[in-house]
């Protein structure tokens, strides 16, 4: 049992360090300085500020700032302290408990992973679903208008009123199955060769000429419209914004010191999370869109046929990439839709039986022949 320890003493007034012998006495910690001075510190007034980790010196402080300091190099001091004076040593780090601390650290690590996964898979999407109804529709409309101005400038819109009315008729027949909605829906056809369509918040659906060209019949376009309508009805853009904001908040909560390389990692993690939420929205719009088609007695084969066209156009994507994409794999989408259709018994009626679909596709003036880029 070692009763005497060597260290050095700093008086808090000068940087001169004085060698000291330290004795663990019953009442106080006694410090004998090399120059003969003797100092006593009552155990209750001593603060331990270092020495909780392997390889760290034991640092004891006493008094108000600037405090007196006692530094002991030998880590075994703490073990002895706990052994000789267990009740006095209660407030000091006990190296014998490092193993326990290590186990607690592992538990904390596991719990952190569980919490992060729970937030990622469940917490953030749920939070967005709860918060989205509180976002005013007028705000969505304003945002939607500015999006439409960007992607569908007025001079590029195809506004042939008769043909547009037919497309709007498709939307109306589907919306009739949805009960009351808060949105004023508006269709914009843009004279651009892009094979795409998008839903802007507040009720705007933008269809590019390239997409219209590739549809074979009204049912196929109805499938696209059903999907986009559901994006608006389910407020996916608003939810994305909320999800983005709460992911940012979570990341800020997790990381104290963000610098350099870490911020890249954080960006990447946030992007991955965002893509996952986006894929969820796409799947939701597919399923709800299909349900709406069935309710409106529209043949869902059109929606499937359209996705088949998408699949042919995009070629084959490696499966691994499906985790870093904003859309689910097309093959997967088709398979899911088919299984949903198989479960239903709804019958359907032909859409726009009195009109030629090829004629409706001529809504855009410069359309000479279907563009193949």
């Amino acid at each position: 049992m070692q009763l005497q320890w060597f260290g050095y003493y700093l008086d808090g007034q000068s940087a001169n360090r004085r060698n000291a012998r330290i004795y663990l006495e019953a009442g106080d910690l006694r410090i004998d300085l090399a120059d003969g001075a003797i100092i006593s510190w009552p155990y209750g007034e001593i603060r331990q500020t270092q020495g909780a980790y392997a390889g760290e010196q034991v640092r004891l402080e006493h008094g108000s700032e600037p405090a007196e300091v006692l530094v002991i190099d030998d880590e075994r001091f703490l073990a002895s302290f706990h052994e000789i004076l267990p009740s006095r040593a209660a407030g000091f780090h006990n190296p014998a408990k490092r193993r326990q601390r290590f186990q607690l650290t592992i538990v904390a690590g596991g719990a952190s992973i569980a919490l992060l996964l729970a937030a990622y898979f469940w917490g953030i999407p749920t939070l967005a679903t709860i918060a989205a109804p509180w976002v005013p529709v007028s705000w969505e409309e304003k945002l939607g208008e500015s999006v439409v101005e960007q992607v569908a400038p007025a001079e590029q819109r195809c506004s042939d009123p008769q043909r547009l009315a037919q497309i709007e008729g498709l939307v109306k027949s589907m919306l009739a199955t949805q009960g009351e909605t808060k949105y004023q829906f508006k269709i914009h056809v843009v004279n651009q060769p892009m094979f795409n369509a998008l839903a802007a918040p507040g009720g705007h659906i933008v269809i590019f000429r390239g997409l219209l060209d590739r549809t074979e019949n009204a049912e196929e376009l109805a499938g696209v419209l059903a999907h986009e309508l559901q994006h608006i009805l389910k407020r996916h853009v608003t939810r994305s914004l909320l999800e983005y904001a709460s992911t940012s908040f979570l990341v800020a909560a997790v990381i104290g010191d963000v610098s350099g390389l870490v911020s890249f990692g954080v960006e990447a993690a946030q992007m991955l999370a965002q893509m996952r939420f986006s894929r969820q929205h796409e799947s939701e719009a597919d399923a709800a869109g299909l349900k709406m088609l069935l309710a409106a007695k529209i043949d869902p084969a059109g929606m499937i046929a359209f996705f088949e066209t998408v699949r042919k156009e995009e070629g084959h994507l490696p499966t691994a990439l499906s985790y870093v994409s904003s859309h689910p794999q097309t093959e997967l989408r088709i398979a899911r839709l088919k299984s949903l259709i198989a479960a239903s018994t709804a019958d359907s009626q032909k859409l726009l039986p009195d009109y030629s679909w090829e004629d409706i596709k001529k809504i855009c003036p410069v359309l000479a022949k279907p563009a193949k880029e």
Binding site: L10, G12, R18, E56, V254, D257, G265
Partner: protein
């Protein structure tokens, strides 16, 4: 008793021209343990704990850094960091937030939009130098070695002037003023730094780095900007050599190749561990930079006396108003 006197003598009679090394003893595993617990507590407190967690990390880093046989100590507290953050939020965060919201309300077409943008630039332009001075003051005042506190006594107003003037001249000179500006900032940061009652000194000159700067500008494109690592190392060496305390100067052997290897290793480690190796990266960095740094000359540290600076400055007037004593880093 005789043996102890001998030990004491070793530390007092240091001959002129000695080298004082700096060692970092920290281990990635220990730091990782601290950071994992911080992560957990940060999650369950929705981030509030991060201020206290940061103190744990800084204490560990300081206590594992040894200069001339003695470790450093960090004395900051989570409460101080939290209050500092609230102050910064109130004085800069909220005005900035209001300005951004106003921009969204008036819209991009409005003439007010550009006016608001200028106001945002002004707020940010003030915030950066104010934050830099306050962070330095706070951090140095909470660091000690052999029980003696460091301090920084430079004024916020002076640095705002240096910062904004340098920024303007750099812009007007198409970037060529940059090494002078950088040197001026370094001089301000070092020459107002104290250890106890004694000052650090800085005698670097911007023109000494100017030719090197121009050379690296020219090399940027052919080297895909990698040459800036070498410039950065060169600047670190130059600044160290021109920083002194008493009759000793710092010396740094940081090299472009060394930094490149370090960063490359860090990037590989980061990717292979999906970011979980961050603690080991921190330790690697610290180990490299401290192993490169030393002091050469004559030091009489025993003669340094404590000189405690007021902990927080919340005086009146604008300069007191900006002495926030906060630290965001």
């Amino acid at each position: 008793m005789a043996a102890e006197v001998d030990i004491l003598a070793q530390h007092l009679d240091v001959p002129v021209g000695s080298t004082y090394p700096i060692h970092f003893h920290g281990r990635g595993g220990s730091l990782f343990g601290i950071q994992i617990v911080n992560l957990f507590l940060g999650l369950i407190t929705l981030g509030v704990y991060s201020f206290w967690g940061r103190v744990k990390v800084r204490s560990y880093m300081a206590s594992q850094t040894e200069f001339s046989g003695d470790r450093f100590a960090y004395h900051g507290t989570g409460r101080e960091l939290f209050i500092g953050w609230l102050k910064a939020l109130l004085l800069f965060g909220i005005p900035l937030f209001v300005l951004v919201i106003l921009q969204i309300i008036v819209g991009m077409e409005s003439e007010l939009f550009n006016l608001l943008q200028i106001l945002i630039y002004i707020v940010v332009g003030f915030f950066i130098p104010v934050a830099m001075v306050n962070a330095r003051r706070y951090r140095l005042s909470r660091m000690s070695w052999r029980g003696i506190r460091f301090s920084f006594r430079g004024g916020v107003r002076e640095f705002i002037a240096i910062y904004l003037k340098g920024w303007l001249l750099t812009a007007v000179s198409l970037g060529f003023y940059y090494p002078f500006w950088q040197n001026r900032r370094q001089m301000f940061m070092i020459s107002d730094s104290h250890f106890g009652n004694q000052k650090f000194a800085f005698d670097g000159r911007g023109r000494d780095l100017f030719l090197s700067f121009v050379l690296h500008v020219l090399l940027s494109l052919p080297t895909f900007f990698l040459c800036w690592i070498w410039y950065w190392a060169r600047v670190q060496r130059y600044y160290a050599e021109h920083t002194s305390f008493q009759a000793a100067r710092f010396r740094s052997t940081v090299s472009g190749g060394g930094v490149f290897a370090l960063w490359f290793g860090n990037a590989v480690l980061f990717l292979l561990t999906l970011g979980l190796g961050w603690s080991w990266i921190t330790v690697r960095n610290m180990r490299y930079y401290t192993s490169c740094l030393s002091m050469v000359g004559a030091l009489d540290v025993a003669g340094v006396m404590q000189e405690v600076q007021p902990a927080t400055a919340t005086g009146e007037g604008l300069s007191g108003f900006l002495d926030l004593d906060f630290d965001l880093g």
